[in-house]
């Protein structure tokens, strides 16, 4: 060994120690930095999959329309044609997944309709509004209007 390296042996030893330190640095770095960190940027790439894997609670109107085609036919000619089902019925993903064990919500027109149609100065002028107390006191909206096709009475 000494004969081959000659006077440089002490330098080789130093270089070996330095190489071991570099290897240890990268080993610690691998152990500490989480998997996928830096793949797309300064963050943990699998976090995107974590967020994507969260469950949904709104099924989307396409899922509703796949079964309830009779409601689609009623709605399409009315003023509520572009109001999605879950805007009034609430989140229905569980119902869409298993319709027989999970009932969809039938909202109460007495509290539902005024949320949108109670008159307010901040609402767009073209939006149909009523002062519910004066409009037809004492009775629910559903007595006169069909929520799926509310045109006229």
């Amino acid at each position: 060994m000494k004969r081959i390296l000659g006077e440089a042996e002490h330098l080789v030893r130093l270089a070996l120690v330095a190489a071991v330190l570099v290897v240890i640095f990268f080993a610690i770095r691998r152990a500490v930095v989480p998997v996928g960190f830096g793949k797309y940027g300064h963050y943990r790439a699998p976090s995107l999959d974590d967020i994507r894997a969260r469950p949904i609670s709104f099924a989307g109107h396409e899922a509703c329309e796949a079964c309830h085609d009779e409601v689609v036919k009623t709605k399409v000619a009315g003023k509520h044609a572009h109001v999605n089902c879950e805007a009034c019925h609430g989140p229905a993903a569980k119902h869409a997944d298993d319709p027989f064990n999970n009932q969809a919500v039938k909202p109460d027109p007495a509290t539902l309709c005024v949320r949108c149609h109670e008159a307010d100065a901040a609402k767009p002028k073209s939006f149909p509004q009523v002062v519910s107390r004066e409009h037809y006191g004492g009775s629910g909206c559903g007595d006169c209007h069909n929520p799926h096709h509310p045109n006229g009475v």
Binding site: G41, H42, A121
Partner: protein, 248 residues
């Protein structure tokens, strides 16, 4: 146990090689269950359009967001503000937002200009929140959504202070920063966001700016479109149509 130098060095070498191999295997096995691999991040660039003239302040978006994302009571990922600008004082609008509009608004008939403004994370291209995060827990996804890695967030609240729009909060039980994800778990499945799904007037529309057939391009071309606080140079991607100059 006697350990000579040769054994120690070879042992350390083996450990490093094996741990590297195990790690490579782990990385290949990544991908959470229930994630659709058909979705290509490079093909999307998400934002939202809001037609202020269509918002009726019903609060459907606020309730839908809470139901979809489990937003704790009293905290908001999206909320609705009601503006009242009197003719005399244009610089100081009166703004109310009871419970963020969760239960709608108490009806009011007053003069002047009145309108609703829905708000949410603007998913800025140059997000102050992302720049201020010291640990890399909040980030811009490759498809343009600002997200929080709740496993990595240390709850320091820097991002909450940095957001000029007040769109972030510290989750009261998780103790991590929380915010609108633009329903990332929905839009990557081809669905729209919960707030857009529940909006009865179509005032909110999810927009994919990389999709040439998305109506957002016509919306941006042919309308008077503003973003909030443009002087902050955040390059916000929530585009408001016909926004009153009084809105902050």
């Amino acid at each position: 146990m006697e350990l000579n130098r040769r054994e120690l060095l070879s042992g350390v070498g083996k450990f490093i090689i094996l741990s590297g191999a195990a790690r490579a295997a782990l990385e290949n096995a990544s991908g959470a269950p229930g994630v659709d691999s058909q979705y290509r991040m490079a093909e999307h660039w998400w934002g939202m359009t809001i037609d202020v003239g269509k918002c009726i302040g019903c609060g459907n978006c606020v309730r839908a967001c809470a139901a979809e994302n489990g937003v704790p009571k009293g905290y908001f990922r999206t909320w609705v503000e009601r503006y009242h600008v009197s003719g005399a004082d244009l610089e100081h609008p009166q703004v109310d937002s009871p419970d963020g509009g969760f239960n709608g608004f108490p009806p009011r008939q007053v003069g002047g200009k009145n309108f609703f403004v829905p708000k949410l994370c603007n998913h800025c291209v140059d997000s102050p929140c992302v720049q201020s995060c010291p640990v890399g827990a909040t980030y811009d996804s490759p498809d343009g959504v600002v997200l929080v890695d709740e496993k990595y967030c240390v709850g320091c609240r820097y991002c909450i202070q940095a957001c000029p729009y007040g769109c972030r909060y510290l989750h009261p039980t998780k103790h991590t920063a929380d915010k609108c994800t633009l329903c990332y778990h929905r839009i990557t499945k081809g669905l729209t966001t919960a707030c857009c799904e529940a909006c009865p007037t179509g005032a909110r529309q999810l927009a994919d700016l990389k999709n040439p057939n998305d109506p957002v391009h016509e919306f941006l071309r042919s309308n008077n479109v503003q973003i909030l606080k443009p002087y902050m140079a955040t390059r916000a991607k929530v585009y408001y149509k016909d926004l009153d100059g009084a809105v902050r």
